[in-house]
């Protein structure tokens, strides 16, 4: 059952050309010059309850505009959206009780106070019954290992601790939906891995639907079954993380080191392969997965040249996504 439906969503902004200074600002009130910017252009998708979906795109692609519409902070120019059965911008306050949000670069915690004070305040903000609240708090204390710093003022927490605090703050009122905006930004390798484990556990154990925006492709490939790619306001891809490899990741690269017994200038000439890069005896040979198996490709090389070593490079998600952003693999 879909918990989020987005149908033909479009949002455009009128961007004013501001004039400088106070006099300019006053003139700007009377006559406006500017232009229309389409941030989200006819996007449709559905997210089922319990899914964990990656929402990715380069800066300015329209990701946060979409998230703002989904939380009810922005009214779309056209299109239908329902989140947990509600129209977000008409029932923003009601919806607030059903969603949790973590923005990696912001915090909703009280800076000067011990972490626990921000958390207990949320009980009153969302009107969570005491027994439910305490059960939730002790659950998160355990899985996020909060006990060491619950009484520490937020300003003294490390970034990793603060992010865990923000995650708990977003979840204490048991929202069925969680929006995460770059939840691992700035975290070290260990904290990042821990954060991912916890997100997986929350998704699995509590059935929370997660919509995750990030620039970290490892977040996506480790957490999400499905990803949406958006750029210039348009949805470019909606499907599983594996399928994107098959669809866009056709090209594999065979890296070979020649043994140096031959005199070769420039790229190698091989059937079905392109020598895309050379560095001394090392050559990067690109071939398509649907035209040759790895074994066939290796045979093609070794039958013509003497090689000392070779490795096979699979396309990584990051490389695929970069090519999509750059426009090389438009649908």
């Amino acid at each position: 059952m879909a918990i989020i439906t987005v149908d033909s969503l479009r949002k455009s902004f009128w961007v004013n050309q501001r004039r400088a200074g106070f006099a300019g600002a006053v003139r700007g009130l009377v006559s406006r010059t500017g232009h229309e910017v389409v941030a989200v252009d006819d996007i449709s998708f559905e997210i089922a309850a319990g899914e964990m979906v990656g929402y990715i795109g380069p800066n300015g692609a329209g990701k946060s505009t979409t998230i703002k519409v989904l939380t009810g902070i922005l009214v779309p120019s056209s299109g239908q959206v329902t989140v947990a059965g509600l129209v977000p911008w008409e029932q923003r306050r009601t919806l607030a009780g059903k969603i949790g949000a973590v923005f990696g670069q912001r915090t909703q915690l009280w800076w000067d106070l011990p972490l626990i004070e921000s958390l207990t305040l949320l009980q009153h903000v969302y009107g969570v019954p005491s027994d439910r609240f305490n059960a939730n708090l002790s659950y998160f204390r355990e899985i996020l290992e909060l006990d060491g710093f619950l009484d520490t003022p937020v300003r003294q927490l490390s970034l990793g601790q603060r992010m865990r605090g923000d995650l708990v703050a977003a979840l204490l009122h048991e929202p069925p939906i969680l929006y995460l905006d770059e939840p691992t930004i700035g975290l070290d390798v260990v904290a990042r891995a821990r954060m991912r484990e916890v997100l997986q556990e929350i998704n699995r154990e509590r059935g929370v639907t997660v919509l995750l925006t990030t620039h970290d492709m490892d977040d996506i490939s480790q957490l999400c079954q499905r990803m949406l790619i958006i750029d210039h306001g348009k949805l470019l891809y909606d499907g599983s993380v594996e399928a994107i490899r098959e669809r866009y990741g056709m090209e594999r690269t065979l890296v070979v080191d020649l043994d140096g017994s031959e005199e070769i200038e420039g790229p190698l000439e091989l059937p079905g392969m392109t020598d895309v890069q050379q560095d001394g005896p090392r050559h990067w040979l690109r071939f398509r997965r649907d035209q040759a198996s790895a074994a066939e490709a290796i045979t093609a090389v070794t039958s013509r040249h003497r090689i000392r070593d070779l490795t096979l490079e699979e396309p990584d998600i990051e490389g695929i996504v970069r090519r999509i952003y750059e426009g090389g693999d438009r649908l």
Binding site: R18, T71, L74, L113, E117, G127
Partner: protein, 263 residues
């Protein structure tokens, strides 16, 4: 209501963290209090009363003013404007509580802290060193307490409006600076309003700023009694409620702008 109490309590606790700042601030208020005291002593010289106030009244006015500075918060206050600039305002606006109430509760916690830990110590410095003439009528002290609460509420209403200007203006400080200037001048903090030329006094006494320092001070000096006292409190209440309504209207406009035009 429980929610707003919890918010106010946390706001109060926040300030408790900064003990050194409290001490330094009190010392500063005391120092300026002393300078202003000697200015008024020199000004009075051998004169008995000026515009209805004796020297004891004027010195009480100085130390009450120094004390009220912080609870009523005459200074620049940017807390809301900064959340508008950073975008955090969006998360506050999405919370299932009343946004005006949220900030009013925060300000109430702050004002209580500043009353207990800034106003009272500052006033005690003046009261120990000089003869201040205060009313001995408990009704005036009670009236003063009510008036103080209303003064904070008026001040909050003005600061709330000035901060909301950040939704429209690129520079969030302009509106706050303007308010800061008006606060100092029209509240009676620097020069009591009764010292002003009659026509100017009449005009300034209709503005909300008069309710921030001049009115509470007159009440505890015993200059405003009986029906006058009630009228003074109603004047403050009127402005506090009026500013709250204005704040809510402007907030609604700001939210409309944000949801259509983006942050």
């Amino acid at each position: 209501m429980r929610l707003y109490y919890e918010i106010a309590r946390r706001s109060f606790d926040r300030f408790l963290t900064y003990r050194a700042a409290t001490l330094a601030g009190t010392a500063t208020n005391g120092f300026f209090g002393l300078m202003r005291t000697y200015l008024f002593i020199g000004f009075y010289g051998s004169q008995g009363t000026v515009s209805g106030w004796t020297e004891g009244d004027a010195l009480a006015f100085v130390w009450l003013g120094q004390a009220l500075l912080m609870p009523v918060f005459i200074f620049g206050w940017y807390d809301i404007a900064l959340t508008i600039r950073s975008g955090d305002v969006v998360s506050d606006l999405s919370k299932p509580f009343d946004y005006y109430g949220f900030w009013l509760a925060r300000d109430a916690g702050r004002a209580l802290y500043h009353t207990l830990f800034r106003a009272i110590p500052t006033f005690l410095i003046g009261a120990l060193l000089f003869r201040l003439s205060l009313s001995s009528d408990p009704a005036h002290w009670l009236g003063f307490l009510v008036s103080l609460v209303l003064a904070v509420w008026i001040s909050f209403g003005l600061r709330f409006l000035a901060n909301l200007a950040a939704f429209w203006l690129l520079d969030h400080r302009g509106a706050v600076y303007t308010l800061l200037f008006a606060n100092g001048l029209f509240s009676g903090l620097l020069v009591p309003l009764n010292y002003w030329p009659d026509w100017a006094e009449t005009v300034v006494r209709t503005l909300p700023f008069a309710g921030m320092v001049q009115i509470p001070v007159e009440i505890i000096l015993g200059k405003s009694t009986g029906a006058d006292l009630v009228v003074a409190l109603l004047f403050q209440l009127g402005w506090a409620v009026g500013l709250m309504l204005a704040g809510r209207v402007v907030l609604a406009l700001a939210v409309r702008k944000v949801v259509i035009q983006g942050g």
